[in-house]
């Protein structure tokens, strides 16, 4: 074993689905290279579980470069683990020490029922977008792109909000399991752009209502969401969402 490699003890949440009871189970992860990503470490553990005829740990991932939002788990109590602004697929084992005990759990929230082990159902996020997270521009009806002038700082601000990958870490980190950061990022992205203005009032009302009906809690300004967000979406988006919401109510 190369001298920098790690021997770790994992405590992993195992659960066969929403109906059944889950529990933490201990696994050894030996001879782990520090250049591995966290998911590659789990791949290695699963390979040996399969060889031993055991049920491998279910987790999901796709792009493994931090942009698709598929992966996500709570590592030692922190959504996506200890590295700031980093999804779990981009978290590398060089940030752990030999002998560490690592606790791995799913993103827990009423709005995210467990499918298996570390995999949760985030359809609720799609439902929030479906309720109004768009600009109604039918294909073929657009004017020349440069007819809409957008100051650079406005475009940059829209981009800051639009960078959300919909992973759900904000919900997992929130003591109220609120989806406010996710919802407000889409509302802000579209509200600051001139193209998004005509629908901004109906949009914020429908999206907030949908968010509430999906079983997410309310925001009470803990700020945990911003702290774990892998794309550093600012909590100021939530303030904008509230402003937009009140404007819409008063404007009615």
């Amino acid at each position: 074993m190369p001298e920098n490699n790690l021997n770790l003890t994992l405590h992993v949440w195992r659960q066969n689905g929403q109906g059944s009871k889950g529990k933490m189970v201990e696994y050894k992860a030996d001879d782990i290279s520090t250049d591995m990503s966290f998911l590659e470490m789990l791949d290695v553990v699963n390979e040996s579980l399969i060889k031993d005829g055991e049920d491998p740990i279910a987790f999901d991932s796709d792009c493994r470069e931090g942009i698709c939002g598929t992966c996500g788990m709570v590592i030692d109590g922190v959504a996506h683990g200890p590295e700031r602004a980093t999804t779990v697929c981009q978290l590398h084992m060089r940030h752990f020490n030999n002998g560490d005990k690592i606790y791995i759990e799913p993103f827990r929230a009423k709005g995210f029922p467990v499918i298996k082990d570390l995999v949760v159902d985030r359809t609720s996020f799609d439902n929030i977008i479906k309720a109004g997270g768009y600009i109604s521009a039918n294909t073929g009806s657009a004017p020349d792109a440069n007819e809409i002038l957008i100051p650079k700082d406005v475009a940059d601000r829209a981009m800051d909000s639009a960078a959300c990958i919909g992973c759900g870490a904000c919900v997992a980190a929130c003591p109220n399991a609120s989806a406010s950061l996710f919802t407000s990022a889409k509302i802000s992205h579209l509200a600051v752009l001139p193209q998004g203005k005509p629908e901004s009032q109906s949009r914020v009302v429908s999206m907030v209502q949908q968010m509430d009906s999906e079983g997410f809690g309310s925001c009470s300004n803990h700020g945990e969401c911003e702290a774990v967000c892998p794309k550093e979406i600012s909590i100021s988006n939530i303030a904008r969402m509230r402003r937009e919401y009140f404007k819409a109510l008063v404007g009615k």
Binding site: I50, H92, I135, S136, A137, N146, L149, A155
Partner: protein, 636 residues
Amino acid sequence: MAIDANIPSGSLDEKWTKYKSNVKLVSPANKRKYNVIVVGTGLAGASASASLAELGYNIKTFCIQDSPRRAHSVAAQGGINAAKNYQNDGDSIWRLFYDTIKGGDYRSREANVHRLSEISANIIDQCTAQGVPFAREYSGLLANRSFGGVQVSRTFYARGQTGQQLLLGAYSALMRQVNTGKVDLFANREMLDLVVIDGKARGIVCRNLLTGEIESYSADAVILATGGYGNVFYLSTNGQNSNVTAAWRCYKKGAYFANPCFTQIHPTCIPVSGDYQSKLTLMSEGLRNDGRAWVPKSGDDKRPPSEIPDEDRDYYLERKYPAFGNLVPRDIASRAAKAVCDEGRGVGETGLSVYLDFKTAIERQGEDVIRDRYGNLFDMYERITGENPYNVPMRIYPAVHYCMGGLWVDYGLMSNVPGLFVLGEANFSDHGANRLGASALMQGLADGYFVIPYTIGEYLAGAELKEVSTENSEFSQSENEVTNKINRLFDIKGDKTVAEFHRELGRLVWEYVGMSRSKEGLNKAIDEISKLRDEFWNNLKIPGDQNMFNKYLEMAGRVADFFELAEVMARDALEREESCGGHFREDHQTPEGEALRDDENYTHVSLWEYNGKDKPNFKKEDLNFENVTPTTRSYK
């Protein structure tokens, strides 16, 4: 037998306009009577679903991910091309067309590429209207950057996340139609068979990835937008879920597979660090605007890069290709990197990487400018490697990135199976033997927003479709075949995991059907792949069972198809006795080591047709160059 691509007559710049004027239309009242299945929700699939639903068709949309927003288009970084000529630097529809034809090494269809070029400008308009936050100048006007293989600045971008932003635009348009009820969305579904009734595509069979249930869906047409097959190499920049299965099932049902050996190796990826590696990460080609590729002049020079003075460095791209320098097309940049590493001048622990150095750019423009342009890429590089590219040159190496080959389609994007349309990377159409940077996003969205809405109408209005439902026996037959295959995989009960087989297959394909190919190597590959495939079907071990969320079962089905594809890729590479674009045959090169095309014998699309035997039938579609004369691509 010559294959007809149904290209409209008339001059190149009139074809699409004429097609649109003469196309059969389905009346609004009749559109709602038609059901269309769309498989895949990347740029092509999501834009097609949304646009067709807006027209009034009933759409059923399927995706393999838990949400349509996660399709792998999301990972595209650099940008999207459009012939807007906002920079007044001489761009035009003709020039984008010409660059794409030349970049594809004269192995694509003129008519398709010209249409793509015509549509390109509309895409930027459409996406802007949806709220895609493209980069802007201080004036509020759209910004552009330049990309490899061209001499104008026509690439639009949203930081290093252009694919994500375009996909979220298409996804939001799709979700809007889900909200109106015109689209039924089925996430967590993997298409496992195409159902063909009376010779026409009439539905699909898929597996619900959460419950394991096998499900049937019928329709009047099926649109496949399921991406590329780069994961046949095991290590690629593709997502873990990217696979060939849906396309391969269509091939097994009679659809031609075109140019499977045309795969693109991207020059700027983070090098491999170990056996456990599950994927390779791309660093956008946009980096080559400011980064300079180099290796030490001498392979014995083991000094750290900062201590190697300029006179001991070989900026090999600038030396070999002075006109384009670091911005040569991808295939050329990749081979040049391989060449210097093969000479023993590669850097890093494995010797399989080259430097991409930003020192000159940082000195000239300041670190802030570089951070603004590439900040997120630099951060990603540091997260993965633990090195800071502002201080130490990046180390990069080529990796499999994109597949130009795919299911064959005619001008209307319909395969040879009537009613089966193929869009985006899943088809073979527009990029010939090599794709230029920032053209994949353009093609995916062109196909989905602006081509299929016209061409599907032409088919549906003319096709005489009988009533079909999932009660038809063809559906239960397909369901049985799918179930039997899954059972067979479980019944093997061997010792080796699917990842082990996939890794071994990937090594074979990379070694013999990768950046450089030879007759001996390809014959060897066919032999070895078939041996390994036999072992797979005799010694595979899958955990768990079929009626549950089971990633390893999903992978096993996909790897089984990759084995079959890999063999056809090798056969295709063997048949094509020339070098062109991403297909480099060692026995067909110039004395300087550049690709040597054979226009007399190989100006065609190679088509492979499944016949149940080891060797599929081979057919050709001849390519006619009436507007551009194929010349030797020179970037010197």
